[in-house]
Symmetry: C2
Subunit: 153 residues, 2 copies
C-alpha cells in the first residue's frame, strides 16, 4: 500500500514549477536534473499534468513548462487521483464485481471509510501549502513565488 513514483514525482514537479511560476518556462532537462527523474519518464509525467490542465508548455528553443493554475488550487488529492491507477484502498469499493464476496463482505465499508478519511486530508493540502510550510521550516530557502502565492485566493 504505497504511492507510485509517478505520484511522488508529480507532486515534486508541481512544487518546482510553482516556485518559479510566471517567471520563466522551465525545461524538461532542468527539472530532470534538479528532481533526479529520468528525462523520458519525466516527459510522460509532464504530458499527463498538461492534459489535466495543471501545466502549460512553450515549444521551441527557450521553451519549457509553467504551472497553468494557482498552486493554491492544486491539492495533493488531485495529484494522487491523477497518477494512481486505483485510487481506493480496495478495488471493490467502486467495482464490486472485482470481488465475488463484495455483497456479503463486512469489511468493505470500513475500507471505504478509511479511503474517504485519507482523501479528505489529501484534498486539504495544496501545493501552495507545501511551499509555505517549507518557508517556515527553512526561512533561507530560495522561493521567489512565496509572496505571490500568499496573495492568491
Amino acid at each position: 500500500m504505497k504511492l507510485s513514483t509517478k505520484t511522488r514525482y508529480g507532486a515534486r514537479i508541481l512544487i518546482e514549477l510553482a516556485m518559479n511560476r510566471e517567471e520563466r518556462a522551465i525545461q524538461v532537462s532542468e527539472i530532470a536534473a534538479s528532481q533526479k527523474i529520468p528525462v523520458k519518464y519525466l516527459e510522460q509525467l509532464l504530458r499527463t499534468l498538461k492534459l489535466s490542465g495543471f501545466v502549460k508548455s512553450v515549444r521551441g528553443p527557450k521553451g519549457g513548462h509553467l504551472l497553468a493554475k494557482s498552486p493554491d488550487t492544486i491539492s495533493l488529492g488531485q495529484v494522487v487521483r491523477l497518477f494512481e491507477g486505483q485510487t481506493d484502498l480496495v478495488a471493490c469499493i467502486s467495482l464490486p464485481q472485482e470481488c465475488d464476496m463484495a455483497s456479503e463482505c463486512l469489511v468493505r465499508n470500513a475500507w471505504k471509510t478509511a479511503t474517504g478519511v485519507l482523501y479528505d486530508k489529501l484534498d486539504s493540502i495544496s501545493i501552495a501549502d507545501l511551499i509555505r510550510d517549507a518557508g517556515e521550516a527553512f526561512p533561507d530557502a530560495y522561493c521567489p513565488s512565496l509572496a505571490q502565492v500568499e496573495n492568491v485566493g
Copy 2:
C-alpha cells in the same frame, strides 16, 4: 495504492473466527470455502495471524482455528500493519535513504501526515465494530457472538 489480498483476506478471516468465537474450532477447509480463499494460501495467512497472537489453533481431527483474543482488541490498523510489507504511503518516511531527495523534499512531510490520518482511522475500527455494524445493516444475519462481543470491554 491499494491493499494486498493478504490484508483483505486477513480481515475477513478474523471476522469469520470472531463470529464463532469460543464456540468451536473452525477448520481451514471451512474458512477457505466460505471466504473463497485457496487452502494453501489461507494456511499461510493463518500462520501469520497465529504468530502474531490473533489466532490460536487446535491440532488433530476435530481441530481448527479460534480467535485468540477479544475482537474488540483487534483493529484494522493492526491487520494492515501485519500484512502490508510497507505500511507508510511512501518509503522515505521511515527510511529516508530510500530517496536521495528526502532531505530537501517539500512533500515528504505531507505524505507522513496523510499516512497518520489514515492509520488513526484504521486503528479506531475493531473487528467487533465491523460485526456490530453488520448486525445493524443486516439484522437477520447469523451472528452468534454478537451479544458476547457487546459484553466485552
